[in-house]
């Protein structure tokens, strides 16, 4: 019996040792086109992608000890960076990588359970993860960021780009971006601050929506939430047709007429008016929530 217990303990110790074995360092480089495309795939861990002035892709960081290999290969203008893992074993595959790419590259980053950060990339960006946060600082080009469970933070440089972001559970923060934005969240808050838009579509099921940015003269702002307050603070003048309605909540506005009750039997309020020449369009609706609007 003692021998059996001893064997068990030795086995357990070996297992612990195996699982805590140190991750492997990686440092690899490959030549790349100055404005090519880089695909990056890492199932678990983290990915930081930076643009730089060199025509090379460099991968540094640590690979999980069960990772089979790091694939870094070129096919024409395309570069593939992939952490190859065993098909049926997801233990100890977590890899933390920093990837430097030519700054004009477009990138597509896919992970399952990993945070993604990108910075100084001038090409188009597509970022996907299932469980993890996405932080990006796009420069001059469009970005699409999707996560199921995690926050999304986009910090622009003020240039006009298209931003498409959605998360199921998490907050979305978009700062100093201009152009167009489509943001969607099921449970979480949306904050859009600074910048000016010709089109902004913000939807949430449960969560507040906060818009503190400009709306261009023919711009369209559409805000819709089921359960959550809406706060719209326009920076600068706004010229638009406004249609605002809440089924159960208050509307307070510092310009335009006062909101009217939709029915004497229900607590809903609605407000419709035109400000300026009315070139743009602002639509705000909520089922349960207060709406504040000012400039």
């Amino acid at each position: 019996m003692k021998k059996l217990i001893a064997n068990y303990l030795v086995g357990a110790a070996l297992l612990v040792l195996a699982s805590t074995a140190s991750a492997r360092e990686v440092d690899e480089t490959i030549d790349a086109a100055s404005d090519g495309h880089v695909d990056i795939i890492n199932i678990s861990g983290s990915i930081d992608v930076y643009g730089w002035s060199k025509n090379r892709v460099e991968v540094t960081g640590e690979l999980g000890n069960r990772v089979e290999e790091l694939i870094l290969e070129r096919d024409g203008d395309k570069i593939l960076v992939k952490v190859k893992v065993p098909r049926n074993n997801s233990n100890n595959i977590s890899s933390d990588l920093t990837v430097r790419v030519p700054e004009d590259s477009s990138i597509d980053v896919s992970t399952v359970s990993a945070d993604i950060t990108s910075k100084d990339i001038k090409g188009e960006q597509v970022l996907h993860t299932v469980s993890g946060d996405l932080i990006a600082e796009p420069v001059e080009d469009d970005i699409s960021a999707q996560t199921v469970s995690g926050d999304i933070d986009i910090l622009g440089d003020g240039s006009d780009i298209d931003v498409e972001v959605n998360t199921v559970s998490g907050d979305i923060t978009v700062i100093e971006v201009s152009g167009s934005i489509a943001a969607e969240v099921v449970s979480g808050e949306i904050l859009v601050r600074d910048g000016s838009f010709h089109r902004a579509t913000l939807n949430s099921v449960n969560g507040e929506i906060d818009y503190q940015a400009g709306l261009r003269s023919d711009g369209k702002l559409s805000v819709e939430t089921i359960n959550g307050d809406v706060d719209v603070q326009f920076s600068g003048d706004v010229s638009a047709r406004f249609d605002i309605e809440t089924f159960n909540g208050d509307i307070s506005n510092c310009f335009g007429p006062k909101a009217q009750r939709t029915s004497k039997y229900t607590p809903g309020l609605e407000l419709s008016f035109t400000e300026g020449s009315g070139d743009g369009r602002v639509t705000i609706t909520t089922l349960n929530g207060d709406i504040d609007m000012c400039n």
Partner: protein, 181 residues
């Protein structure tokens, strides 16, 4: 009164006051009263009509929901719907919506199996949250069936449900398939 009139009256009096039918019609009438009338709207015909209506309406809603486009909705009377998603008390979304919902749910279920228990739980909780919101709006719409805001929010929330199922299923599939490169 003239002789001519008297003659006409006398002739008229000779006529029978009853007209006997050529055959006895009662058995037929009696049977018609006792046996329930069969409408030209046979179940098969009604079903076909309903399917035609529902395909049109649901295609519109489903197209809206999955293509993220304009908010126009056609609805059909609830008594023509066999399998329905409620739209207030009076209307329902039909077969097209149900099919899209079923397909996306199947895809989602498959993809959820591949996620960690935590991520799966989070998705399921959020889906339940959307469905709770649908129930909430439906309830309000039952009390105020003509409320345009509620109708718009309900359509939007149905669309959001399908979009989320599509997005999560698609995203997971996309990310997982990248592993096979």
């Amino acid at each position: 009164m003239s002789d001519r009139d008297d003659k006409l009256i006398a002739e008229a009096n000779k006529l029978s006051t009853e007209i006997s039918p050529e055959r006895d019609l009662w058995p037929g009438i009696e049977q018609a009263i006792k046996v329930p009338q069969r409408s030209r709207w046979t179940p098969r015909l009604a079903q076909a009509a309903a399917v035609v209506l529902l395909v049109g309406a649901s295609s519109m809603v489903t197209w809206m929901a999955t293509k993220d486009q304009a908010r126009v909705i056609e609805v059909v009377p609830v008594d023509l719907v066999f399998e329905q998603a409620s739209f207030g008390g009076r209307y329902a979304l039909g077969v097209g919506y149900q099919e899209a919902h079923r397909d996306l749910q199947a895809q989602l279920d498959t993809e959820l199996e591949r996620l960690s228990p935590e991520a799966r739980k989070e998705v399921e909780e959020n889906l339940a949250m959307i469905r709770g919101a649908i129930g909430q709006i439906n309830k309000a719409l039952t009390e105020e069936p003509d409320n345009a805001l509620l109708q718009e929010l309900l359509v939007q929330t149905y669309r959001e449900e399908l979009a989320m199922m599509k997005r999560v299923g698609g995203l997971t599939q996309h990310v997982m398939s990248r592993e096979d490169i």
